[in-house]
Each structure stands twice: as C-alpha cells, then as structure tokens.
Amino acid sequence: MSSVLRQRIRNAPPRYALVAIVVLLLAGLPTVISSFLTSEWAQALILAIAIMGLNILVGYSGQLSLGHGAFMALGAYISAILAHKYKMDYLVTIPIAGVLTGGIGFLFGIPALRLSALYLALATFALAVVTPSLIKRPKEWTGGPQGLLLVQPDPPQPAKDAFAAITGTAMTTDQWIYYITLFCALLLFWLAWNLLRFRPGRAMRAIRDGEVAAAASGINVAGYKTLAFGISAFYAGIAGSLFGLATGFISPDTFPVSLSIQLLVGVVVGGLASIPGPLLGAIFAYFLPIESNQWVPSQSWIPSQIASTVEKAGPAVSYGVILIVIMIFARNGIVGLVESGYRMLQRRLRGAGDRETGQMPSGPQTV
C-alpha cells in the first residue's frame, strides 16, 4: 500500500511537489512569525479566496465585476448578524454566509446575462460605490456607521494540544483564525482547481472566447455564466465572513470601493484564468499598501509633514500604475510572465531562436 503511494508520489508531476511545498510553508508560517503578522497573513489568504472567486468570474467566464467588495460585505454581515443577533457559533455561520451570498450572486447573474461586458462593469462599479451607504441604512441589523464588534473564538482544546505538541508553544487566537482561514483557502483552491480543469472550466473558457461559438457547440451559455456568478459570489461571501472573523470588527468603511479595486488588482497581477495567480496576486495586493505604510516613515528623505499623505496616496498610485502597466505589457500577470519566461528559457536551451519575421512595414493594421 505504502509502496503504491510512494510510486504515485514519484510519478506525480513536479508542480505537485511545488504545491506541497507551498502548503507546508503556509502551514508552518505562524510558528515563525509574530502573532500580529499571522493575522496579516490570514487577511492576505482571505483576500486570495475572494480573488480566486473573482478570477473564476473574470478570467474564466469573461464577465467583469468591479463590485466584488459588495459580495464580501454581504458575506461578512450575514455571518456577523447570525453570530451577533442569533448567537450562532461564528464558524457555523461561515458556510451559511458563503451559500447565501452565492445564491444571491446566482440571482444577480441572471439580469447580468442581458448586459454587455461594459454595462456589467459599470453596474457593478456603481454597486461597489453605493455599498457602504446601503449597509448603513438597516441600523438595527448592521449597527449603522458604527459597525459590529465580533467575538473572536479561542482555539478549541484539541487544536491547542496538537499545536503545543508540535511547536511547544500555546496557540493564540490569531494563529487559530489563521489556520481556519488556511483550511478554507486550501479547500476552495482545491475546489476551484477541480472545477476549472474539467467540463465546467472548459465550458466557461469557451464562453469567454466566443459566446456564439460556445452556444453552437452545445454549451449552455446562460447557465454557465450565472453559475460562474454564483460560485464567484460564494467565494466572496466566505472571504467576507472570514474577514469579519479575522478583524473582529466590521463597518461600512470596511468595504469601500477601493476593496473592489484591490481585488481586481489581485486578479490582474496574479494573472487571469490561473489557479496559483490569485494567491500571488493577493499577497501582492494585500502587502503592498502595508509595506508602503511601513516603508515611508522609515525614509528620512520624505519630509514628515507629507509622510501621511504619501502613505495614503502611495498604494493608489502604485495600484493604478500596476493595473495599467500589466494590462499594456503583460496581460497574463505574474504567472503569465513566469510561464513565458520558462518557455523562452526552454527554447533557448533547445537552441531554436525566434524566427525573425520579414520586413512588414506600413500603416495601421486592418484585417
């Protein structure tokens, strides 16, 4: 039995080893970094979940949502209200928030079918802008502008024991939340991977590349597009719910327009239609503003009067530049760059240079 397993491991493609290493690194991370940093990494993983969801929608089904922050808000408030008002165990509310948000996303996807890509972007952007003021209104449920404070759970005894046995230290709440998040992230990435490499993924990609052709080859275009919306919202809902757990507090200002932009940055940076992309994109999009906030005050050449301005403007400027530069020069993001770099290297090694195309001058192309 174990030799079969060993055989299998030996025959697995190298990328499986890479995945295993990444998972182990992520699992070991809280034991080597501070509790505060652990909490930050948990939030980065949460962002990765939401970005994975958005990636399914944008990268695979070709529908652009600029309002995924709104779905995160929905998931967060569903969990918070269930935990706050109905005294439910927060962990139980996480799947509920995901499923409800997914259902609403599915319903949202039905009118979205009628919209062109451009109009969908426009409507979802408007939704993202309006979200904070929509949250404020039902005060008795959402706590209005003050938001809701959430009780963060202590690690349960078995987890504490196991952690202590392995690391020799006591597990903190932040570490426990980190592991919950990691578990959800791994589960959801695994789900996405399975979903996207089989029929649904192929169908969605076919739709993205040409709806008419997809429909002609028997793909249920409307069905898959709304399904993509639903799944994508499900991911965002889970992420939102976890976000409340990780921060212990949510308010309308937790979900500004810039959150939706941050998600988009993550998708674009990581690479559209890629599985590892969202993780890389999330780490990038999450830590960029944080790092810039820490870096700026440490720089003596930046006058202290404007340091706070620089801190605030820095992420916006860099997000903007990154979106533009990647879209112009590297439309497949980090993963795309790595892949094309790898392919180029392979070609170089094989000695086959890029064939020079002949002189082809003259004006604008028309085909």
Partner: protein, 237 residues
C-alpha cells in the same frame, strides 16, 4: 505616358497567410486599368496594399515616390481616392456630411465649389438628398455617393473596388458611364477591380488578370477581349 502608380513584386497578406506573391503592375497618368480575376485572387488585397491597409513588401511607388512605411491617411492625402468594397459610406452621417468628409482636406475654396457643382451634375440625385441620412440611400445611390465623395478629394488616382457589386445592370451601366467621364474629362487615373470582366474591359485600356496572388496575364483591354483562350480560362464569359 508616365507611370503614376507602380507596383513592383509586391508580397502581402494577413498575418501568417500571404495573399499576394509578387504582383507588379503600372497605372499611367490619367489611364484606366482594370484588375481582374476570380474570387480570392488578391484583387482587393492589392488595392489595400496600395493604401496601406495591409502589410506588404516589395515596392509601391506613387508619382515616383515610394509609399513604403506610410500611413493610410498620408497616402490618400497624396491624391489616391480608394472606394473600398462595400463603399465605405458613413451611414451615421447625412449625404452632405459624407461629401464634406471627402473634401475635408481641401483648402482651395473656389475650386472646391466648382467640384461640388460638377459632382452634382454627375449625380443630381445626391443634390436632392443632400440633407438626408446616407443610410436612406439605395445601393446604387450609395455607390454614387462614394464616387462623388472620392472625386471631392481631388485625386490623381481612383481605386475602385467592385463598383458593380450588388447593383442592377441598368444602374451599373450608368455608374460606369460616369466613371468613364471622370476618367476622360478630369484626367483622373482609375484602377478598377472587377469580377465582371466584360464591363471592366470596356472601360479600361489596359488590364491585368490575377490568379492566386500573381499576375497571370496582362495586356491591352481590347486584345484580352479578343483573345478567346484568355477569356475562357480567366475571365469566364
């Protein structure tokens, strides 16, 4: 007669597919030349190469100067009016606006007014419909508008891509009559692409027959008309 337009070994294509494999042809100053051949022989591509609508290699010279690496806008402003397949009418605009678009590069007010008069003399129907949307015109009228608009560019050479396409025989005859007049009276050279060889040969003095991207036959229009075997094998009538 001096050469106005010269193509020398022009290769062209769309992306990886090449369509022209070394086309050479000459249009003399004020001449009328037709470019014949079956569907897909590369007639339209030849015209598009001339006005920079497709990548090409080899050489294309207009008035003695190479058009290499020039943009469409600059090529046409040197005096080439290209009436594309499907006529290129701006249906969002009125008839008058389409005409003004043709004349938008002109700075010679008095001359231009004369040209307007001439164009309306050729195509009275356009004067009547001046203020209507171009989308309300019939196919024949749209072809007339395209020709009129091209004339207002004050070209030295007109490239006409299948002016007979989709028109009734009566209308075709009228339009070719006017093309002939334009060619003779205004000394505008014409390079005419046509599927229906007969009407084209009637108009032109010289003709080239393209076959899969190469010039298969060239010669005097009358000669080609008279040559039974050419007619059978290439012109299909």
């Amino acid at each position: 007669m001096t050469a106005l337009l010269e193509l020398e070994g022009v290769h062209a294509g769309y992306g990886p597919t090449s369509v022209l494999h070394g086309v050479s042809l000459t249009v003399p100053e004020g001449g009328a030349v037709s470019l014949l051949g079956a569907n897909g022989a590369g007639k339209t591509t030849t015209l598009r190469a001339i006005t920079g609508g497709v990548h090409w290699s080899g050489d294309i010279r207009f008035g003695g100067r190479s058009l290499r690496r020039m943009h469409t806008e600059d090529i046409v402003s040197r005096g080439i009016a290209h009436v594309p397949e499907g006529r290129g009418i701006c249906t969002e605009l009125t008839v008058d606006e389409n005409l003004r678009l043709g004349a938008h590069m002109r700075r010679d007010g008095a001359e231009l007014r004369k040209d307007y008069d001439r164009v309306f003399a050729y195509f009275p129907v356009l004067k009547e419909r001046r203020h209507l949307s171009a989308s309300t015109l019939s196919g024949g009228e749209q072809q007339m508008l395209a020709l009129a608009r091209a004339l207002l560019m004050k070209p030295r050479l007109m490239l006409l891509d299948e002016p007979s396409l989709g028109l009734a025989p009566m209308v075709v005859r009228a339009i070719f009559e006017i093309i002939r007049t334009i060619n003779r009276e205004s000394k505008v050279a014409v390079l005419l692409v046509e599927q229906s060889a007969r009407i084209a040969l009637d108009l032109s003095s010289h003709a080239y027959v393209l076959e899969v991207g190469r010039v298969a036959v060239e010669g005097d229009s009358d000669e080609l008309k008279g040559n039974e075997s050419v007619r059978r094998s290439y012109l299909g009538y």
